[in-house]
Symmetry: C2
Subunit: 401 residues, 2 copies
């Protein structure tokens, strides 16, 4: 009799999450990049951005009307000759003579000498003169240069996730590009002879290949650029070729499948000899985990069950992936458990949950295959390793999905 396979003592969830974070820590050093402002929606500012200009750039009219001196219209009706017309885009450098008016369009420069604008509604227009029926005080309907933002003043802070309102401000101050965090580039590699593409007819024993699609969606939702979703059979030579291409293209590679204790574990079989570390984490689902550094690129190997893959990503990789992208940590908080729960001793369990006003309902059992059920879950219920039963009403931590 050969001895049963040695079971490396299982690492804890926190320990393995820290291991993954350390493995990706060098990626915080990757250089920022410049993004064109029109394409920067959702990107994260790498530095504070200050205005290269005063805004308004020049003193201009807030209304279609007539630029005058307030003193000349203090008594109304006041008749004034019209000395000219200034459209938006005109240089508007000739001064206004006392006792006269210049017609100005909204956004046009207010001429030197004028100190207020009379809206067109308050004016009777004659052939060469106007009658102002309501005077205005100094400064009324005049936008002074720099009253919105001054040259050198902060427009948006480092770390801002750029929303439309930020894009509007960055465009208004005339910035063509802004420094943003470079997106993390990832490749997802699925493995398994039994996997078939969506829409195929399945032969007995085959299933659809969903892990690459699902993991890519999760990564994209966290701001990652998924360079490729690749698939390998269980042939080691094939997997080696796919892996080499993946590490050449990515900052980080995710694999799914081929890491547990079967006879045909292509990921473990290829990566362990390259220095990979494979072994159990005290978690359910997602116990078998592995990591390797190949050509300097971290390769995280998740188990192949669809729910295991998604929970592995959410628990072990997502926190550091979001931090690398400058995004806030996944929300975790304590809520009331609405469904009684049993859990294996010694394994931290993540159950699919649905948040309600009163707390969290557990909506599927511990089976790692219940991926369709996972569509209805918006949270993972985090059951500590030492806990074996939790009655309804217990406080539990949840991790938002």
């Amino acid at each position: 009799m050969t001895p049963r396979p040695a079971t490396a003592s299982a690492r804890s969830v926190d320990e393995y999450r820290d291991t993954v974070a350390a493995l990706l820590a060098h990626l915080f050093e990757r250089p920022d990049e410049q993004a064109p402002v029109p394409a920067a929606l959702g990107r994260v500012l790498a530095t504070d951005v200050v205005s290269p200009t005063d805004l308004p750039v020049f003193r201009n009219s807030a209304m279609d009307g007539y630029a005058v001196r307030a003193a000349d219209v203090a008594v109304t009706p006041a008749q004034l000759p019209v000395a000219g017309v200034i459209a938006a885009g005109d240089a508007g450098t000739s001064a206004l003579d006392a006792g006269s008016a210049m017609k100005v369009m909204t956004g046009a420069p207010v001429p030197p000498g004028a100190d207020c604008v009379i809206p067109v509604e308050d004016v009777q227009v004659g052939a060469d003169r106007i009658v102002v029926e309501r005077g205005r005080g100094r400064g009324e309907f005049v936008r002074e240069a720099g009253t919105d933002v001054r040259t050198g003043e902060l427009v948006a802070r480092a770390g801002t996730v750029l929303a439309p309102r930020h894009i509007a401000a960055l465009a208004a101050v005339g910035l063509p590009t802004v420094p943003v965090l470079t997106r993390l580039r990832a490749v997802c590699v699925t493995t398994g002879d039994e996997l078939r593409p969506a829409g195929s007819a399945l032969a007995p024993g085959q299933i659809y290949n969903s892990n690459g699609i699902a993991l890519a969606a999760a990564l994209r939702a966290d701001g990652v650029e998924v360079v490729e979703v690749a698939h390998s059979t269980d042939d080691p030579a094939r997997f080696t070729a796919v892996l080499r291409a993946a590490v050449a293209a990515a900052d980080v590679v995710f694999t799914s499948g081929g890491v547990s204790k079967g006879d045909f574990e292509v990921v473990k079989d290829v990566l362990a000899p390259l220095g990979g570390t494979f072994g159990p984490v005290a978690v359910q689902p997602g116990g078998p985990q592995g990591y390797t550094v190949v050509d300097g690129v971290p390769v995280l190997s998740f188990p192949g069950n669809p729910v295991s893959t998604m929970v592995s990503y959410a628990v072990f990789a997502r926190p550091v992936v979001r931090a690398l992208g400058g995004l806030p940590a996944p929300e975790t908080r304590e809520v009331t458990l609405l469904t009684p729960v049993r859990s294996p001793a010694g394994r931290r369990q993540y159950l699919r949950g649905l948040m309600t006003e009163n707390g969290v309902e557990v909506i599927s059992g511990p089976g790692s295959h219940l991926i369709a059920g996972m569509a209805w879950a918006d949270a993972l219920v985090d059951v500590p390793a030492e806990v074996t039963t939790l009655p309804a009403g217990s406080p539990v931590r949840i991790l938002s999905l």
Copy 2:
């Protein structure tokens, strides 16, 4: 003397929002489209989606181990001959004889006749037989076909905004594509001789062209496909050409600028003769508004001040744009005003606000040019038309940005 321009009696905000909604209502009838599941993140399901298959597709093993009859391992240790090996992807149709075991990999078919799987950890492995050290009950570590989802069962509901967990489920049931709402196609047209592209040196009287960039960002954040951001000078022939191209490419066209009471209002000058309706809405900022149907395509004309453009979009167009995209209405709720406010009588005012734990702070004055300041605002404070002063502590409605 010519009479002053006739002022059409101003419409209310609610009336004009309804006008815009009616103008776009026919777009609810546009056909759905099929999106490839891997590219469907963030898209909105047009119909309920049911599973085309049982999941699991076939009865399979949850563990790497040995498929046996529970009755054969009721007393342990139990010695059993190993009749074969079933890998994931094998058809696995030959039945298990009583009193024997078959090695099975995770995800591999459990052979007919077997009713549980003994994990490899609980087994001593010999040359042609195993010793089971811990028995298991019927069904343990066996995933029955259809226990996740059955053929015809709902996977995701119509209206679901597809998150990674939905993509995972849709991929797992093998759907190559799903029916989604077709994105609204929009073109943004900015106007004005004074507008210059970002990064240009500005001559006196010129400003940066930001409205197209900002409006496109707002539309994209609401799920719209912005087909083009175009610019026209104030030349009517040029604007007409740009407009014709826009309506040929889009479901809806947004213009900014050229709608107020100046001498050079290219948008109004071109569109009013085509049947456009231009006139004031009792709102600040964003009073001058216009709409036209050109070749069957609605054209919404916003004023050109950057904040006016953004507030016009948020108040008048965004509700129907989001509804057309199947997205929830912009959040509006009552909070406490933290800053005293003055407001002109007869105009509903939208002030830029910053939400805090205690309520909303007003962070800029009513000036429609304060676009840089808008970057710091995450809400619009909605001051009713009849209100002229609001002390701090008043309840106010806010519209989230």
